[in-house]
Amino acid sequence: MLWWFKSPLESDRRLWEHPILSFHRGRKVKFLFEGREVEAYEGESVAVALYAAGINVYSWSPSLHRPRGPFCMIGKCSSCFMVVNGVPNVRTCREPVKDGLMVERQAGWVPPPSPHNDSIGSQSREEELRTDVLIVGGGPAGLAAAIKLSEYGLDVTLVDEHFKLGGQLLKQTHKFFGSQELFGGLRGFQVAEKLISKLREVSNVRIFTETTAFGVFRGGVVGLASRDSVVWVKPRAVIASTGAQERYLDFINNDLPGVIGAGGVQTLMNEFGVKPGEEALVVGSGNVGVIVSYQLLQAGVKVRAVLELLPEIGGWFVHAAKLRRYGVPILTSHTIKAALGSERVEGAVITAVDERFKPVEGSEEVIKCDLILLAVGLEPDARLHAQAGAVMKWVPELGGLVPVRTEYLETSVPSMYVAGDASGIEEATTAMVEGWVAALAIASKMVDGSKAEKALNELTKYNKFLWSEYRSSPVIARARKGKESVTVTQEEMERLRATYPPPIHFR
């Protein structure tokens, strides 16, 4: 054997059997991780393929040199940055695997190679584009909006950062409630399949994947950047349905590989069929926490405990009861104090808390686990609105900063709309309805005659459903209260615009 021969990575965390899911894997591809061959499947991201191959450490942090692994898996955090084909700081969670890629770990923020280096590619192509409506984000809200606008004959441009459309629907494996129009009875990823195939049938929607809307500029121009081009779009209206990111939590060694967002784990195991670990501790017993715990069991992961800071379980009773039946302890008035391990989680220190959420002395306990899920809520990602100068408000019930809007979901930047989790955390069903509402509000202004009237009628119907039916359920009273607090009348919006003049106008 030659001394420089490096053995291929042979461990495989992929699931080949699952009680409710079957994973349709693409063609086999091979790439190199620090000289070692990795086998992967077309359609996977580099981060997913490396995780499946047993890699825990993806990089070392810039000044404390701490090992880091993937955290959010959807391109929001910075934990999966690696060097790919010589280019540093590549978000590997949304970098598709390809034959012959060369992937290496990076230590800190590696400066980009000089512009004369071939690996950085040549100058970007630049294009200009006019469109009726630009939709940023191809999750449930953006897809629903695009389909609705296409029905009214408008020219639509839809962009998404990922190489796949569907957003977080792709990892939702529970069945939806509601009517057929709202895809009741289907699992989230099936809803995504339906929406995407509908979108492929229409001719007036232009789709850009692996493309980032990086800013809104004077004159109402939006910059879109992809691997090799920059497109300057001049839309007449914008819907930013940019989703959410997972909330982080402060405890000792909260950055250790194996501490992953609950959504990140769902991406790994539900979307790509990769077993995220052997023994998990779940922090947070809201709906995401209890649902993901059950999904962990389905994937063959042992759930050691679910921790809840409050004295009561946050999620729906049916989900919590299911966990109890499987013998998973849900520890209320408990929190995590520390993650243990050096390059991967090996355990966790948990503690009971008193009514003021202070740790109870002597209640510490060590739990053996190799995976810690953070299911402590989501935070809206409405940065594009904030950057465009929309009036924002901090609403704890909605998870953070969101733009103030009218009931038609128009923000204080005229013709800039918000829909889905970016408007405040709710769920996929409300995201789709919000997508329709924003689309119909725009259509009613852009089309003429009887079509405009039809749009207004549809708009009234969906808004009535949203506010008088769906959100009247007591289990979502908190989100309703939040949404009420940022929804203003047209007159109030005009007053806001007079006080905080919008710097951007779309024409």
Partner: protein, 91 residues
């Protein structure tokens, strides 16, 4: 590995750093952000901003809304390839 509570994963800012800076007299959130480079990394504050704002609000007795009122988002709102900014020489 030394046990640390990381607030900002991009720039390795710890909870201790945040608390020390506030105790040392930094009474403006934007100043704190500039001092510690919170939110100046590639994720642009997507992990740290909310935690830091809550810690700051708690320690200074302000409301989170107030704390974040000076926060501005500037383009590019996410890192993009440098080649997007490279234009042909000449003019």
């Amino acid at each position: 590995m030394k046990g640390r509570i990381i607030i900002c994963r991009c720039n390795d800012v710890t909870l201790e750093d945040v608390e020390k800076a506030i105790d040392a007299g930094i009474d403006d959130f934007e100043l704190l952000r500039r001092y510690l480079r919170l939110g100046f990394g590639p994720c642009q504050g997507r992990s740290c901003l909310a935690i830091a704002a809550r810690v700051f609000a708690r320690k200074t007795g302000k409301k989170v809304d107030e704390v974040l009122s000076g926060w501005r988002v500037r383009p590019p709102i996410v890192p993009i390839n440098i080649s997007a900014f490279i234009s042909e020489g000449g003019d």
